[in-house]
Amino acid sequence: MSLLINGSTVQLPEHVSTVSDVILHFFTDRPVVIVEHNGEIIDKASHPTREVTDGDKLEFVHFVGGG
């Protein structure tokens, strides 16, 4: 499956099917990952059930230092 994640086209294995799967594929034990899926900001509770399909666009953001 091919996804556009944070502006990069990325190939993912077949077992990846939800937003949570994608997060786990890239990051282990991230406390805060904020996700936008195909232009829609989704809440954390829906990460495990939100399905991703070939060609989807994802944005992963988090908090960084700032003033």
């Binding site: 502006g7 904020i34 900001i41 953001v61 908090f63 960084v64 230092g65 700032g66």
Partner: protein, 254 residues
Amino acid sequence: MLTIGEKSFQSHLLLGTGKYPNVDMQKQAVAVSETNILTFSVRRMDIYEPSQPNLLEKIDIQNYDLLPNTAGAYTAKEAVRTAKLANASGLCDMIKVEVIGDKKTLLPDPVETLKATEELLKEGFTVLPYTSDDVVLARKLEELGAHAIMPGASPIGSGQGIINPLNLSFIIEQSNVPIIVDAGIGSPKDAVYAMELGADGILLNTAVSGAADPVKMAEAMKLAVQTGRLGYEAGRIPIKRCATASSPQEGISV
């Protein structure tokens, strides 16, 4: 106490979390500042770097209220999106609206700041717009319903301190919501000065994170904000042109 929207805070100092030499120093600086509110930015994660440091891992966020900013936005639309992303963390409902209108000075775009503030208030956010020291703009932001107004003391990160105390004092006098002086604070004297003018709070970052000893400066800023507030509440003496003796003029032994 500093009251913003529904919440009250013991500390009048809001601390930014950017540009510390390292995360341990940042953690210590945050602790000694005794701040209740921390600011953050929202940025893309690096999907190819799973071990990237996340500030929230080092700081026990249960002890703080988080004030994410919309830094990086040049339009109201971008600021609103960033605010919604921050809110989707489930960790905060406050937002510092920061819509930059000029890359050289980082001064805010007044029109887009107003638009973003209006939109986010409709969405139910607790909105704290970063603004210039424009008196009329501050009034208009308050009229929209902004929960606090955050005029800059001088350009972001410049350390120039309070360059227009007159405008700041006008804003403070006219406002019924907290005025938090944001941006440009360079040293503790600037924080004292702003608080003595009657500001309700100070938001600073570089003055601490860029100091030679950020932890010591965090403590100095804590004390400066407290000192300025006490001085404001105590009411300073009028400035007179000529001397007035402190000691009795009678009974001098000759």
